[in-house]
């Protein structure tokens, strides 16, 4: 009644993000004060509008207005982030498991996970948690059959061809490779969420010492 989905694409593709971002801007501009929330995600945007101000018919019209003549945002629209990660079995138990499956050493997994830019397709699950992709096909790993009851904040994981960082301690079923000391969601910061949809992210492997220096918590993910 007070929300409409704008569906722009049928499949996940990084090349779609400039269009999603452009639609995000155009919808924010057109709806102005009547916009309550706008949630972009991979191929869609959920427009939550103020029904005290406009009917669904008007909302549909406003969406049409906003999208008419839409041009993709420039590829530089999303910000770039470099996220230092301590890749280690103690804080990323699936590092070895994936390496064994592929018959390579863990350094090779790190090199491949950190070897490309990822796109933040959507935020969700918890505040500041970005669903990023695409992980190279060979590294794709299904979620754990039994999710962990607690995954430490900063844990870097993969699920299928997506990668993400746990923004706060929570239950979770992603395959964990390492940990970052970067705060993804900080209410005291001007930009409370480090990531926004459309941002580009690259992981940088760092040593245990550097991780500790950055304030990282070395508590193993699972006490054995």
């Amino acid at each position: 009644m007070d929300a409409l989905i704008v569906r722009l694409f049928a499949a996940i593709d990084e090349a779609h993000m400039p269009w999603i971002l452009a639609a995000d801007n155009a919808l924010r501009e057109r709806f102005g004060e009547a916009l309550i929330d706008l949630v972009p995600s991979y191929t869609t945007l959920l427009v939550h509008y103020d029904v005290a101000r406009l009917s669904q018919r008007e909302a549909r019209q406003w969406i049409d207005d906003a999208l008419r003549g839409l041009k993709p945002a420039s590829t530089e629209t999303g910000r770039e982030h470099r996220i230092p990660v301590w890749y280690d079995d103690s804080v990323g138990p699936e590092l070895t498991r994936i390496a064994e499956r592929l018959g390579v050493d863990t350094d090779e997994i790190v090199r491949r996970h950190a070897g490309r830019d990822y796109c933040a397709f959507a935020l969700g699950f918890s505040p500041g948690y970005a669903f990023m992709g695409m992980v190279e096909e060979a590294l794709a790993t299904p979620r754990l059959k039994t999710p962990r009851r607690k995954v430490a904040a900063g844990s870097v994981g993969i699920a299928e061809r997506q990668t993400a960082i746990y923004s706060m301690r929570s239950p979770g079923g992603w395959n964990i490779l390492g940990r970052t000391a970067v705060e993804l969601f900080d209410r005291e910061r001007d930009e409370i969420s480090l990531f926004r949809p459309g941002d580009r992210v690259r992981f940088e492997p760092i040593s245990r010492e550097a991780f500790i220096e950055q304030g990282g918590d070395t508590t193993p993910l699972e006490e054995r």
């Binding site: 929300a3 972009p40 191929t43 869609t44 939550h48 505040p127 409370i192």
Partner: protein, 316 residues
């Protein structure tokens, strides 16, 4: 509507001190808006109508923060004179042992104890203080979300605890009498639903079942969502890509048993949906105990909006 009776009751520096807690008592307002694209959930009072009435009874804005008391068990002691109001579920509220109406405003004298027992009708009662609850909002809201460590008295998502002090955001209230009854669902409830984009992907038998058979409210129900049990629904759509989820979305996971997503839901999700409940139906669902028999009734967006605006107009 009858002309409200207006009286003035100063609350000064009075506070309500939590002396005992039940299953869950949370600071809630209308919710936290404008940050769902960052993964921050909406939150807010499940029965926003009851919160609105509790506020109205004190002359507050309908979306001022109050306390959502689930299942009772909360005991509060007044340190000074304060007008308060309650609305929503009948949780057997008493003032120094004297029975109070489930919906009404009244004054607590210094030392008096306001106690909530257990549900007699509905699940959640709302307590309003003059002007709302005095605490530091985050992104414009005091709504408590434990999972996100946001909102509440401490700003860290904590539920009310023994020793907490509730203070009012303003010193004076204009107390009013409840102008109408507020019915709580008992054994059955009809929930209005606006059908959504994936409705055509459900097979005919499932659509018939969805809108013509009774559903049961499952015990797996919380502020994130309420699971219904009944005939398994089948959707032909597979492998949906996650997208933003509106309040009241009725999603159908592969087991065919619908889950109605409420205020503390995750911001995006990838299960097909029948549609979304109207805001008024969401409020009603927040009062339905496990075992309640539910019927889903399709309405047009226009009908749902009209009913919503009628409710808002009652508080103007």
């Amino acid at each position: 509507m009858a002309t409200p009776e207006i009286s003035r009751a100063a609350s000064g520096n009075a506070a309500l001190v939590v002396e005992g807690t039940g299953p869950l008592a949370l600071v809630e307002d209308a919710g936290r808006f404008g940050a769902r694209h960052l993964g921050v959930t909406q939150g807010g009072a499940l029965d926003w109508i009851a919160l609105g009435w509790a506020n109205w009874l004190l002359g507050n804005a309908p979306d001022a923060a109050g306390i959502e008391i689930a299942m009772g068990g909360l005991t509060l002691k007044a340190t000074g004179r304060m007008a308060v109001a309650i609305a929503g579920a009948d949780l057997g509220a008493t003032r120094d042992g004297e029975t109070l109406p489930a919906n009404g405003s009244f004054v607590l004298e210094p030392g008096q104890v306001l106690a909530f027992d257990q549900p007699r009708a509905g699940l959640r009662a709302y307590l309003a203080l003059p002007g709302g609850i005095d605490a530091e909002p985050f992104m414009g809201s005091l709504s408590t979300v434990a999972r996100e460590q946001l909102g509440g008295l401490d700003g860290r998502g904590s539920a009310l605890r023994v020793g907490d002090r509730l203070t009012a955001a303003s010193v004076a209230a204009e107390t009013r009498e409840m102008p109408c009854a507020m019915a709580m669902p008992q054994d059955e409830a009809t929930l209005e639903l606006v059908t959504g984009a994936q409705i055509a992907h459900f097979d005919g038998a499932s659509l018939y079942a969805a809108f013509n058979q009774a559903w049961q409210v499952d015990s797996r129900a919380d502020r994130m969502g309420v699971r219904l049990t009944g005939p398994a629904l089948h959707c032909r759509l597979e492998g949906m890509i996650s997208e933003g989820i509106p309040l009241g979305a009725v999603q159908v996971p592969p087991d065919g048993q619908p889950i109605i997503l409420l205020n503390d839901r995750q911001t995006i999700g990838g299960y097909p949906r029948l549609g979304a409940l109207s805001p008024i139906a969401c409020a009603r669902l927040g009062q339905c105990a496990p075992g309640t028999s539910i019927r889903l009734s399709p309405v047009s967006p226009h009908q749902a909006r009209r009913a919503y605006l009628r409710q808002l107009a009652l508080w103007r």
